[in-house]
């Protein structure tokens, strides 16, 4: 603890300012009347109004894209974590032919530029009658969510002590029981991290959602916000209000999981 200002802390302040200021600006502006949106400097809130939020939910029915986003991102994350954990476990602990090939394949799939996947996925989804459906978004989302979660979880599971699991197997647990009783509780921080990142990725996804939905009843939040823009005007106030509303579930998810990511969970298993 020193009172002397150091160059490092100045840099830190600048960094914090750089990150925090846009967020502050968005929140402050979303509560500001239309006429004051372009004030310079834009910071001081004097007359607060909730007009933008009212318009957002009453005229634009923003709860609909929010619900769509929650359903799609939530189901994708749940599926990606369940399948991803099982896959990552098999890839780290079981020995089978072509294991590295699978791992490389998983990585290769996630290398493809997203936009190159749109036409084939569109044709496939149309053939399956899945355009403009939740399933029609969850399935394509899994194409990036699964590689992401598998790679994160493989990295995490690899550093868990294998002997603890061996001990469980000898204690009479089957592979699945060892996974459930021993590996998962220890891998929880890794699973939570993978869940957060997958959810964020799905929540912010724009291209697939724009390409595979046809109307407001299935638009996700990012698509809906992008389409707020009218022919003659851009409703900045409502866009900013929507941005604030859209951020809230993400913050909730991060806070919910972050608490569980306790460091040193594996302490004491080994000789120390």
């Amino acid at each position: 603890m020193t009172a002397k200002p150091r160059p490092l802390s100045v840099l830190r302040l600048l960094l914090v300012f750089g990150f925090v200021f846009p967020v502050y600006w968005a929140i402050a502006s979303s509560f500001a009347p239309e006429a004051r949106l372009f004030d310079v400097p834009p910071v001081v809130p004097t007359d607060v109004t909730v007009d933008h939020y009212r318009a957002l939910f009453e005229e634009r029915q923003f709860w609909l894209p929010m619900r769509n986003s929650l359903v799609v991102a939530g189901s994708t994350t749940a599926l990606a974590i369940v399948v991803g954990t099982l896959a990552a476990y098999a890839l780290t602990r079981l020995r089978f032919r072509g294991r590295t090939l699978v791992l490389a394949g998983v990585l290769a799939v996630s290398m493809l530029p997203q936009v190159s996947l749109v036409p084939p996925l569109y044709l496939a989804l149309r053939a399956g009658g899945l355009i403009n459906s939740y399933t029609g978004l969850v399935l394509p989302y899994l194409s990036f969510a699964l590689p992401l979660s598998i790679w994160l979880l493989v990295g995490y599971l690899r550093q868990l002590p294998a002997e603890v699991e061996d001990a469980a197997l000898i204690d009479g647990a089957s592979r699945l029981q060892a996974l459930w009783h021993i590996v998962l509780p220890l891998a929880w921080p890794g699973v939570a991290t993978a869940a957060i990142l997958t959810f964020l990725y799905c929540w912010n996804e724009f291209l697939f959602a724009l390409s595979f939905t046809l109307g407001p009843e299935r638009y996700t939040a990012p698509v809906a916000i992008a389409l707020f823009r009218g022919r003659y005007q851009v409703p900045w106030g409502e866009i900013l209000a929507a941005a604030v509303v859209t951020t809230l579930p993400v913050v909730a998810v991060v806070v919910a999981f972050e608490r569980r990511i306790v460091e040193g969970l594996t302490a004491g298993a080994m000789k120390g």
């Binding site: 002590p161 603890v164 001990a167 197997l169 647990a173 009783h181 021993i182 040193g264 004491g268």
Partner: protein, 360 residues
């Protein structure tokens, strides 16, 4: 429970041969110690018996039945790991109970057995704590307790004492001996510590580079090592191994000659001019006046240990190879002093210079 390894070979995916054609029979209730330098494959043998690894060829027999492909949980063995491998997210009580829960034992029985084992191992007061809160000795006892509580018919112990400090190791070693006598369970104990092997085992199996070099009772291994490697590995300080040649001596009796060393061969039927390795344990050499005895040497270093003195010397008046002698007391011996060495005739070991196999 008897355990048999029938010509087991294990080659890892990277091509390393960890276990080479090992055949072992462990009788019901026997304590066999697998001993050898690190990397000799002894832990792999244990993992093969446990079912954590599958052999590349050969069979694992339990009570005479082929169990080679049977998963670990169906073998009814318990294992104590070198790292202890406790479940870090579970309390000590839950750690102990886990194996019984997996086997769907009645809850009341579990509680009773956990309490009994905790009392026997003096860990009752830490039952509610997590492994991270325990001392090394307590963790070791929990690991042991987790094996005992299941009342398995065989124990596999993978260097369970190596992470304890010397005093604790000494005590726990004695406890392990008691435990074996009390439970009458079959045990395979892996260690790199030859002293631990000597004190604990009914028999010891000495391993090197994936092969078993000798299986015998501890004293047999000490007194009649099967080859040069076992001779050097078992016993502390190590046996002295000297390159010698056999020459015809006066009166037709062959002589064993080395640098600064000339001894009447203990047997007549040694081929003249053959090169051999002579093994003499440090405690089988006496220090005598220079010019007497079998060899001349010059003292390098005197290490008094209290109950005995380790003397390091060089043969051939300081020009030859080093030799270690252990005597009851130093009797004023000092470095640079020239001495004679008298070897005990009945404690000679002779090994083939090429193969290292015991000749006599």
């Amino acid at each position: 429970m008897s355990i048999g390894l029938d010509r087991i070979t294990k080659v890892f995916a990277n091509g390393r041969v960890a276990v080479r054609d090992v055949a072992l029979e462990i009788a019901d209730g026997e304590l066999l110690v697998l001993v050898g330098p690190s990397g000799c494959g002894k832990s792999t043998v244990l993992r093969l018996v446990a079912g954590l690894e599958a052999p590349t060829s050969g069979r694992i027999l339990i009570d005479g039945r082929d169990m080679t492909g049977v998963p670990p949980h169906a073998r009814d063995l318990a294992m104590v790991f070198q790292s202890y491998a406790l479940y870090p997210h579970k309390t000590v009580a839950e750690n102990l109970a886990f194996g019984l829960r997996m086997r769907a034992v009645d809850r009341a029985v579990i509680d009773e057995r956990v309490r009994a084992v905790a009392a026997a191992l003096r860990i009752e007061q830490v039952l509610d704590q997590k492994p991270s809160q325990l001392s090394g000795g307590q963790r070791q006892r929990v690991a042991l307790g987790r094996a005992i509580v299941r009342e398995p018919r065989a124990f596999l112990l993978d260097e369970p004492l190596s992470n304890l400090d010397p005093q604790l190791r000494f005590d726990t070693r004695a406890e392990l001996g008691h435990l074996h006598r009390r439970l009458r369970a079959t045990m395979i104990h892996v260690t790199h510590d030859q002293e631990e092997a000597m004190t604990l085992g009914d028999r010891i199996a000495v391993m090197r580079d994936g092969s078993v070099e000798q299986v015998a009772a501890p004293l047999e291994v000490y007194e009649r090592p099967a080859n040069r490697f076992v001779a050097a590995f078992v016993g502390s300080p190590s046996m002295n191994l000297l390159d010698v040649t056999v020459v015809p001596g006066a009166g037709g009796r062959p002589m064993v000659k080395g640098p600064g060393l000339s001894i009447e061969a203990p047997s007549m039927d040694l081929e003249a001019r053959s090169t051999l390795v002579l093994g003499v344990r440090p405690r089988d050499i006496a220090i005598v006046a220079p010019g007497r005895g079998d060899a001349l040497a010059r003292i390098d270093l005197v290490e008094p240990l209290g109950h005995e003195v380790v003397v390091r010397a060089r043969l051939d008046e300081g020009r030859g190879p080093g030799i270690t002698i252990v005597v009851g007391d130093g009797q004023g011996r000092a470095p640079a002093e020239a001495v004679g060495l008298q070897f005990r005739r009945d404690r000679f070991h002779l090994f083939d210079a090429g193969s290292g196999a015991r000749i006599m």
